[in-house]
Symmetry: D2
Subunit: 289 residues, 4 copies
């Protein structure tokens, strides 16, 4: 939920909670309006524009047993022939029950063919943002070079997100937890729910570029742009530059690494900008030394 | 290499070889011109337009110790700022040594920073095709509803590819082996090499649509189109229709499955058409019954 | 209609007719199957791969009083919200009456609100093609570097089309006349009708690149690709190269001309490839000397 | 230049000036920072969210004899092969002299091949905006449903722009004059200059949708989105809805009008969102009654 600015120091570890995209908390109590209400801003003492913020998520954990999702695939992911003919049921219930003990989600009031449908819980945060700077203000559904509503199912417990600071104090926000999400966030709303979150913030030296992330397995460069081709260009370029900078590779050398080893994730295609992630495994990176 | 038409029967298992994209075989002998020379066509007795062909690849194995790749990322995957400034070395060697015993590839004449670079061998076939029908003929670099140069790193040993037949006898082709390939086939040529291939062909009942595939872990619908957004639309639609047909789901129900559980692979972005794959795991499908 | 190969010489002027996209001639008699049947091929004596063919259309004239179009806008030109909700009448008649004396078209059996609807006749040819070469064969709905189903409403009487030759003799085809067509050929079929056509063929020196055209007012570079952004890139690049080559401009200079004076036409978005045209007026070109 | 809020009434005619994109006025004096500084906001008394604002531009006139443009085509309009090889001159001068008496622009310090280059003056405003609402604030380079940096060369003297109001008072801004501009605003900066502007504001009943415009010749629906295909979808849909609402057409009927008579303009492809315009002539509309 929206809180007064909280001043913290680099190195601090913060335990907090996020409400769901509709403003409801762990007890399902409405605490704010909908539209991806965020927790924050956190003012990180001493950070200045151009600094690189590293937000390590030690915990991203479910704190209630319910979620709610969309129940139609967005038009931008479907052929027009499908859209023309699809018959939707306006009374279809997309409330979910989260079985935290056993680690899966199921529809709370399942329709006939989804009676036994189960999907693994993989809690993630849709939004991690700093202030966009330049006196701009975007709704919490937006995303861009400052992070924001990136809706990437790789932002899970254990990940570190890197964002370039635009304003003194950075003004960090987190929110929009999903119990799990397929690629693309195809239903517009994933399994929206509240979360317990713990993160440690550090200010580090490093190249900026777009938002980046890292976990035990991968380094990940996000490409956020107005279309899939442009987002993919940005992601690939971001990862190429990252490799060239940190591993001192030439463009031929980074091409060899990317061409043989890079993977793309289509994070989301439903928000005001598209997010594509280019990633390379740390097993491969280990051979670059 | 191009061979006379070989007549086979449904149920037959074929052992054959493919030359590399430049026409060289297991002994590195030039056997045909370059440009993805194919092995085939195989005329499958009794198959008719509209039939669905299931090609199960029992073996896709390396048969020599060398490969050659491109050494630049294609322009369509990079920002123009990167393209303007990248300095390439025209003498860069992208010959690869394939260490089949230990399962990895390395540059044969590595540049300074890639001395220790290793990437896991994951042999795949770039091309699986039937005749496009309608008296059309495409070069082997093309792809479409008939399959073709799909360049998907998921076409590996154990996969079954499904293609709709357009001509009596289907006229099956295979070729374009890659020792391994990152997503997108970013360098235009992946680690191009010759292969030993064994496959079993069957004609089955089933919905057609675009090319599909299946392995132990996933069902996969390919979206082949002129751009990433259109390929993604087609892949998602193909997977939705597959689920709706085989699991008797309504559009709301397939949206629930796709939104929570679908993954995209960006197969390739370098050929005359783009290939995006939408897939869902068999672990999830098992709960749809 | 499809005819035996006709051998002609550079400089020859040919008078012929084209059937409509459904195969009907001036008397509305079915002369061939549908799917853009072409008139040709014309074998131009002495032309060789790499030559540039200039086809000057002296006449593109209507020869009957009827046409037929599609009656729905293609899905790729509409938002999914519109597609979901549009209620179409399957009995809607999109037969047109062509009033050649007064120069306009009107629906033959107009619905209530289109009783007085009139649109100006601007006869054009959808298809001008040479053989694609490389042993490829495409259906007549396709387009590419060899021309083909370009569906550009600028291919009207007086225009000269330039195509690079891929096969000895070029193998020129023309067809797919439209009585008039809006940008994009939004209804898939424009006002399809038969035509009287007269053209003069010459082989000239000149830079190749993609298909180009010229009339009294403009020089026009066509960009044919799998998506609008890629087609636009190709069109702009084609026009920049044309200016740089013929007017000896540097890239800064061509940027000045294009940035201040270039116009785009979205020729069509409904065929297997998209066609975008970049053009600059001869009034501007006259000041480049 | 930025001014205090000026309260005006519906029906008022305002005479004002705009500085150029770099903040310079008619006397070339720097009056504000660069980045498309705007004139306004104008608070229109009595207007409320949901109202439709009609801004009729009675005058858009040059008020000085100089302009400055970019001198390279943006990467998003060019093939990567062109980008790789283009040799640019960093000292190239793209200052323009505006010959208002004779109605053309020429380079002030022309390079060799552009000595005689002349382009017709066609003064336009790049920016017309109301507040975006929802507590959002965008930089003046942005555009969206609220208008903004639409950079359309059809926004010239005599045009009426329609924008849906998001905030009480609307908060109207105008700025970013161009002495002339090709389609796409390919050089990023067109011929940027200051202007004398006179407009009359009215609040009218009418359907909202995206930004629209009208002049003596055309009605125009703007499609503003993250990519060309999405902008084109939005423009076509906007024009279809406009026709269906104002002329009581069914989807089949609007398809007949659009398919035969619609034109697209690619307004700009260089800003954070792309702008495509779909338009139909008033000559055609006259036959819809």
């Amino acid at each position: 939920m929206i809180q007064p600015v909280l001043h913290i120091n680099p190195g601090d570890t913060i335990r907090t909670t996020t409400v769901d995209a509709g403003g409801r908390d762990a007890s399902n109590t409405r605490r704010s309006n909908g539209g991806n209400p965020e927790t924050g801003p956190f003012y990180i003492e001493g950070t200045m524009p151009g600094d690189l913020l590293a937000i390590k998520f030690n915990r991203i954990r479910l704190n209630r047993d319910s979620a709610e999702s969309g129940d139609r695939v967005v038009g931008s992911a479907l052929n027009s022939g499908y859209i023309e003919n699809a018959k939707y049921d306006d009374k279809f219930s997309s409330e979910w029950k989260l079985d935290r003990a056993n680690g899966f989600a199921m529809l709370a009031k399942p329709s006939e063919h989804l009676k036994n449908f189960r999907v693994k819980l993989q809690p993630m945060l849709g939004c991690v943002a700093v202030s966009p700077g330049e006196k701009q203000s975007f709704q919490a559904g937006w995303l861009g070079s400052w992070g924001g509503n990136m809706d990437y199912n790789g932002i899970r417990e254990g990940v570190t997100v890197y964002l370039t600071v635009n304003q003194p104090g950075a003004l960090l926000f987190v929110g929009d937890g999903h119990a799990t999400q397929g690629d693309g966030e195809l239903t517009g709303d994933a399994l929206e729910t509240s979360m317990d979150v713990e993160f440690t913030v550090n200010v580090i030296q490093g190249e900026g570029g777009g938002p980046r992330a890292e976990n035990d397995e991968y380094i990940m460069a996000m490409g956020i742009a107005g279309s899939l081709p442009d987002a993919l260009r940005q992601a690939t370029t971001g990862l190429a530059r990252w490799l060239e900078h940190d591993y001192h590779l030439t463009p031929n050398e980074s091409a060899i690494v990317l061409g043989s080893s890079m993977r793309y994730d289509v994070a989301e295609i439903v928000d005001p900008q598209v997010n594509v992630v280019a990633k390379v495994s740390k097993a491969v990176l280990a051979t670059l030394k």
